[in-house]
């Protein structure tokens, strides 16, 4: 095995993907500075799932932690991809929004408090439909408030990835970090196939799915800011670096004309290949180089 993509230290890596949400959140903080807010023993669970015969989780699949990253105040919100696909319900949405609003209040008072959101999610939790949609709308409002004062960093490590309404939240972030294993997109491959047919998108073709939604492609086309290996120290380094950089001069989501012109320049009468897009849409608008 001499695949250079995986480097010499492959077997010595400490996988980040293999950590659960709580372990991921803890790993990002300066050692010994983090504490969990509304943890499982506070038993703030979804009131809607049991009614529909689904076993709830005591933290509703959303871990909120406060502490320091690179010496600065920070809050980390981690979604647990293994519980209901990391979906956003009333409780998990409210926990996330409240955490960002508290970070905003602190930042306004003169204590810049960065937010790191760990996205392993398919979007709205269907069992809590409208409440989940409302939660994502509120979350986006909170991101827009906070990002003026402190960076909001979205990290999708995989393997669930980030889809649905939560991809919009990622789109508003100051910085987005992904691994090669993670995927980011509005409609997931299976949804597109179901709605528009297998000719439109064959969701069983994993090479195609990752060539379009995968972290490597998202980075090469300038839609995210850093591509990291599935290695805990690398992930932590990237997050610390973006916390240190502070609020970016220009947020990606304000570059409306740039992205409009990109799409406008595409000849949609023919099928484009993911690799061609990389040369057409270079990473020049990305704020960071590949690690």
């Amino acid at each position: 095995m001499t695949d250079k993509r995986y480097g010499a230290n492959f077997i010595h890596r400490q996988s980040f993907i293999e950590l659960d949400a709580r372990e991921r959140a803890t790993a990002l903080f300066d050692a010994g500075t983090s504490r969990e807010l509304l943890g499982p023993f506070d038993r703030v669970e979804s009131p809607w799932l049991a009614m529909q015969g689904v076993t709830p989780q005591e933290d509703d699949g959303c871990v909120v932690m406060k502490g320091k990253i690179a010496g600065q105040a920070a809050v980390v919100v981690a979604l647990e991809g293994a519980f209901q696909g990391g979906s956003m319900g009333e409780v998990s949405g409210e926990k996330m929004t409240a955490a960002l609003d508290l970070a905003y209040a602190d930042s306004k008072k003169g204590i810049p408090t960065s937010a790191v959101i760990l996205l392993e999610t398919g979007g709205v939790r269907l069992q809590e439909a409208n409440l989940g949609l409302a939660a994502i709308a509120e979350l986006m409002g909170s991101i827009l408030l906070l990002r003026k004062y402190a960076p909001v960093i979205c990290l999708s490590a995989g393997t669930v990835g980030c889809f649905g309404g939560m991809s919009l939240a990622a789109g508003l972030a100051s910085y987005v970090v992904m691994t090669r294993e993670a995927r980011l997109g509005l409609n997931g491959p299976e949804v597109i196939e179901q709605e528009n047919g297998i000719d439109e998108f064959d969701s069983s073709d994993h090479a195609l799915v990752w060539a379009i939604d995968g972290g490597e492609q998202r980075f090469a086309t300038g839609l995210i800011d850093a591509l990291v290996e599935d290695d805990t120290p690398q992930v932590v380094d990237a997050i610390r670096r973006f916390v240190g950089k502070g609020v970016p001069a220009v947020h990606r989501s304000t570059q409306v004309e740039l992205f409009r012109s990109r799409i406008k320049a595409l000849d949609t009468s023919r099928q484009w290949e993911p690799n061609e897009l990389r040369t057409l849409w270079t990473a020049k608008s990305a704020t960071e180089g590949k690690q």
């Binding site: 015969g53 709830p56 005591e58 293994a82 519980f83």
Partner: protein, 97 residues
């Protein structure tokens, strides 16, 4: 979803609380909290109905060794008896650390 409640005699207060696992497919979370008195109370919520006898067998075996007074909550998403046994033992390990 089925709810099951089981009680077992205890001899000592469990030292500290513990939380392990995740309510993911084929897995479960276990919350163990110290309780006063001489009883351990187990509350199970499982997404798979009709396995009350299996749960009782797993818990009977577990409490043949464990004597802590505790409130134990199990939120299960279709874990096997083996997984239940491992998660319970893991919770005790964290609690006794």
């Amino acid at each position: 979803m089925e709810q099951i409640e089981l009680n077992y005699p205890a001899k000592r207060k469990a030292p500290k609380r513990a939380h392990v696992g995740v309510v993911g497919s084929g897995d479960m979370e276990v919350l163990l909290e110290p309780a006063e008195g001489t009883v351990a109370r187990v509350f199970i919520r499982t997404s798979v109905d009709g396995f009350g006898a299996s749960w009782k067998a797993v818990l009977d075996r577990f409490f043949a060794k464990y004597d802590g007074a505790a409130r134990i909550q199990i939120n299960d998403a279709g874990g096997t008896p083996g997984i239940a046994q491992l998660r319970l033992e893991q919770a005790v390990e964290v609690s006794e650390q």
